[in-house]
């Protein structure tokens, strides 16, 4: 049987599950990592965002086969980093999380945004987050949090 091998949060994983399994289900059900959330199951809301070889992807529309030979970072791995600490503090101080269901995905989207643009303008942040829906905050406090993370975490990205 063909296995699927990938690096998840720094650790090698060998999976014998069916290659067409949704990667979000593999994370949540098989590996017990529930930080990525299912909001829509169709790649629209971004609550399930993870980083695949450093790129932001929606794990609810990602077949397991797509991660073969690649590196995946989820919130569970990311939360151990210094960059996460900067984002966490900024999100807390700016009130960027309300119900929290979109927040892990927002954090992953923030990492992707800042990695590519360590000092984004408001418009760049708007564009960068447009794949992640939030119904609670109206986004403004998230924008401010990202500006704060970029400033206070200067040099990390």
């Amino acid at each position: 049987m063909k296995t699927i091998d990938f690096i998840l949060n720094g650790k090698p994983i060998r999976s014998e599950l069916s290659a067409d399994r949704r990667f979000l289900d593999v994370l949540r059900k098989e590996l017990g990592l529930t930080g990525a959330k299912e909001g829509c199951g169709e790649g629209e809301c971004g609550a399930c965002s993870v980083l695949l070889d450093g790129k932001i992807v929606q794990s609810c529309i990602l077949p397991l086969a797509s991660v073969d030979g690649k590196t995946v970072m989820t919130i569970e791995g990311y939360k151990k980093t210094k960059k996460f600490k900067a984002i966490e503090t900024a999100f807390l101080k700016e009130g960027a999380s309300q119900c929290g269901i979109c927040t892990p995905g927002m954090v992953m989207a923030t990492e992707y945004l800042l990695k590519n643009n360590p000092a984004p303008s408001y418009d760049e942040i708007r564009h960068g987050l447009s794949g992640n829906l939030c119904r609670c905050t109206g986004y403004n406090m998230i924008f401010n949090a990202i500006r704060r993370a970029a400033k206070e975490g200067e040099g990390l990205w």
Partner: protein, 699 residues
């Protein structure tokens, strides 16, 4: 000097939510847990002739009306909404049966193999079948209209709005102590508990309801979870194992309650000076297939008929019409956004018809302290609208922009609305229906535990309640605890709805905290309770709908600036300036966060969020078709709060959550009116709708 209570602290749930550690319903698994999937009606109205069920693999079950031990209705205000359809169906998506078993894929196959035949009947989709009519009168509107110099009449229309919480509805149920325990994504643990008790015929100690982390609700998890909670309880009792029932997005959007579409007729009797002497109004709301909470939604809508204006003579009628469509229900604002859209547009349209400056015209009718409300109650507390208006006009540069955007070629506009929102349940509802009880417990380590049924669904009561108690006792917030409610341990402090949590429940918590402080003996366990007492001054007659509809009102003003693309008619809502009187914010950032979120939902309601049905089938059923504001769409928000402490609220706090949504749509719509030079009578003002308006010569 004591620290100002409004000064923000970090949200106490922030870290677990940001790190993804908070546990939502779908994150929970239990040993031996089964899954459930719902089989639903595919027709809008008819009799169920036959249900053919395939042979079931071992370990798979059907659960339907025949399995209900006691009552087949969802205990709410009425008894018309079945837990499972029995014999007949009244809307597409109505639940008929659950398929329960260990493997979701097998369940899906079984669901596909269940065949139901119907004798179809003629469904009703128009607003013709009234199941509840309400009416109230202030002054002598007949006389006012008879004597009117001019009568001005317009009709307004609002559409569905989907709550679109990012976490779909769900529960896990399991058997416990010969009863059933449910963990779910809910706003109102005791609504679910009481509904399950009724359907199961179970005693109080047999039903336990626990709140998991809630990924947004906005009213959508007020009454609807009672329906699925009852279904799951029936299933758990039959199967005897833990069962998880979590909706997928499409299912959630197709079958759960939404904001009621409304048609609102407005008439004004205007005297020689241009003053509005009387208003007559009729609001019809589409309740969908079952009454649910529609009667109360209608009532709150009607009570907003004169919004923040004083009109001496008023007659307001309203009807809940039932149709063969998905039942509609609670959504932040609860009837008020529909009516406030109508009245705000109406006042502006009257002013324009009379050749008056709309702002000055509105100001001449503005409600003031001591004035009578639409139902003849009294605005007892100070109204700071004038001060608020002055601030927001300056902040938004309203006058300059309003003048500049008179140029039809710039396709820009600025709009303004002001509004009130009654705090807590209508009339004597708190006293007669809810009768909130709260409990505080001090343990032998002198830590205080808040034992209330209020749910933190993002709006922050975990933070604000702990802050309130810690502040009153002058102890660190770390020594005050507030866990997700579990009906085994917390009293029924009422539902987490109606902007009542801080003003009403927080008011009781503050009272209990003072009691605790008086009786405090270090190292000793101590429990104190408080229950709701209606303020003596509140006089309300439910039959005639007269008197004080609410004990207090919160107030707000929204100013919105838009740009409309002259080719595509796409509306860009650029900025919103907003100011609110919520009495006193227990935490400024929490209230400002409510403001940003409520306003974004109002922008969606006014411009983007189109939902329609075709013969009872919703056409928008996922996030591709139903558009909520994204980070790219949301306006820049400029929010302010003004202190106006309410004597009976904790530290002066009034309601905040709904206020930030109820008046936004007309401010957006008025800005669009200026940008395109056409009047708007209907929302959402989508590009398609604006194109229709632009292509219409008469305006």
């Amino acid at each position: 000097m004591k620290r100002d209570i409004s000064k923000s602290i970090d949200n106490v749930e922030g870290r677990e939510k940001i790190s993804g550690e908070a546990i939502y319903t779908s994150d929970i698994t239990m040993e031996g847990m089964l899954y459930a999937k719902t089989i639903r009606s595919t027709i809008a109205k008819g009799r169920i002739r036959h249900i053919s069920i395939p042979s079931m693999p071992k370990g798979y079950y059907t659960v339907d009306a025949a399995d209900i031990p006691a009552e087949n209705y969802v205990h709410m205000l009425h008894e018309d909404w079945p837990v499972f359809a029995e014999n007949s169906v009244n809307h597409i998506g109505e639940p008929i049966m659950l398929i329960v078993g260990p493997d979701k894929e097998v369940i899906k196959d079984i669901v596909g193999d269940v065949k139901i035949t119907y004798d179809e009947q003629t469904p009703v989709f128009d607003l013709s079948d009234s199941h509840k009519a309400l009416e109230f009168t202030k002054g002598n509107p007949k006389h006012a209209f008879k004597k009117a110099h001019k009568i001005i009449t317009y009709d307004y229309e609002t559409s569905y709005q989907e709550q679109t919480y990012i976490e779909p509805q769900g529960f896990i149920g399991y058997p416990e102590n010969d009863g059933v325990t449910l963990i779910g994504s809910i706003q109102c643990p005791y609504y679910v508990k009481n509904a399950v008790k009724t359907t199961m015929g179970m005693d109080d100690d047999k039903v336990r309801v626990i709140q998991a982390a809630v990924g947004g609700a906005f009213g959508g998890k007020e009454e609807y979870p009672s329906l699925i909670g009852c279904q799951l309880a029936v299933a758990v009792a039959k199967v005897g194992k833990p069962i998880k029932l979590v909706f997928e997005r499409e299912e959630d959007m197709e079958v759960t309650t939404k904001r009621h579409p409304a048609k609102i007729h407005m008439e004004a009797a205007v005297d020689e000076t241009g003053h509005i002497r009387g208003i007559r109004s009729h609001i019809g709301i589409d309740g969908g297939a079952y009454m649910g909470l529609s009667q109360v939604v209608l009532s709150r809508g009607m009570l907003a008929v004169t919004n923040a204006y004083t009109i001496d003579h008023v007659n307001c009628k309203g009807d809940v019409y039932l149709t063969n469509t998905v039942p509609n229900g609670a959504f932040r604002g609860f009837g008020a956004p529909q009516m406030i859209f109508a009245i705000e547009m109406f006042i502006n349209h009257i002013a324009e018809d009379l050749g008056e400056n709309p702002l000055e015209y509105k100001m001449r009718h503005m409600a003031a302290q001591g004035d009578l409300t639409a139902t003849g109650g009294v605005f007892r507390d100070p109204i700071l609208l004038n001060e608020m208006l002055e601030t927001i006009m300056e902040d938004s540069a309203y006058h300059e922009k309003h003048k500049a955007y008179q140029d039809p070629d710039v396709f820009k506009g600025i709009g303004m609305s002001w509004f009130l929102h009654g705090c807590g349940f209508t009339g004597s509802g708190e006293q007669e229906k809810i009768r909130a009880r709260i409990r505080l417990k001090k343990d032998d380590k002198d830590d205080v535990h808040i034992l209330i049924a209020a749910v933190d669904m993002g709006q922050g009561p975990k933070t604000t309640m702990r802050k309130l108690v810690a502040s009153l006792l002058e102890i660190p917030i770390e020594n005050v605890h507030f866990k997700n409610p579990d009906t085994r341990y917390v009293t029924d402090s009422g539902p987490t709805v109606a902007s009542r949590t801080m003003m009403v429940v927080g008011g009781l918590v503050a009272r209990a905290t003072r009691k605790l402080s008086e009786q405090w003996v270090s190292g000793q366990e101590l429990v104190v309770e408080e229950s709701y007492r209606q303020p003596d001054y509140v006089k309300w007659d439910q039959d005639t709908m007269t008197g004080d509809a609410y004990p207090a009102y919160s107030w707000g003003i929204n100013v919105t600036e838009v740009a409309v693309d002259p080719n595509t008619y796409e509306v860009k809502v650029k900025d919103m300036w907003n100011i609110y009187d919520v009495g006193k914010a227990i935490d400024e950032r929490v209230v400002l966060g409510q403001a940003d979120g409520g306003q974004a939902q109002a922008v969606g309601y006014a411009t983007l969020e189109k939902m329609e049905h075709n013969a009872g089938k919703l056409l928008q059923k996922n996030l591709t078709d139903y558009i909520i504001p994204t980070a790219a769409d949301t306006p820049r928000m400029h929010n302010k709060l003004i202190d106006n402490p309410y004597p009976l609220g904790p530290y002066g706090a009034k309601g905040a959550g709904e206020l930030t949504l109820v008046g936004g749509a007309p401010s957006v719509a008025l800005a669009i009116e200026q940008a395109i030079g056409r009047r708007i009578y209907k929302i959402p003002a989508t590009p398609e709708h604006l194109m229709e308006l632009m292509n219409h010569e008469d305006h």
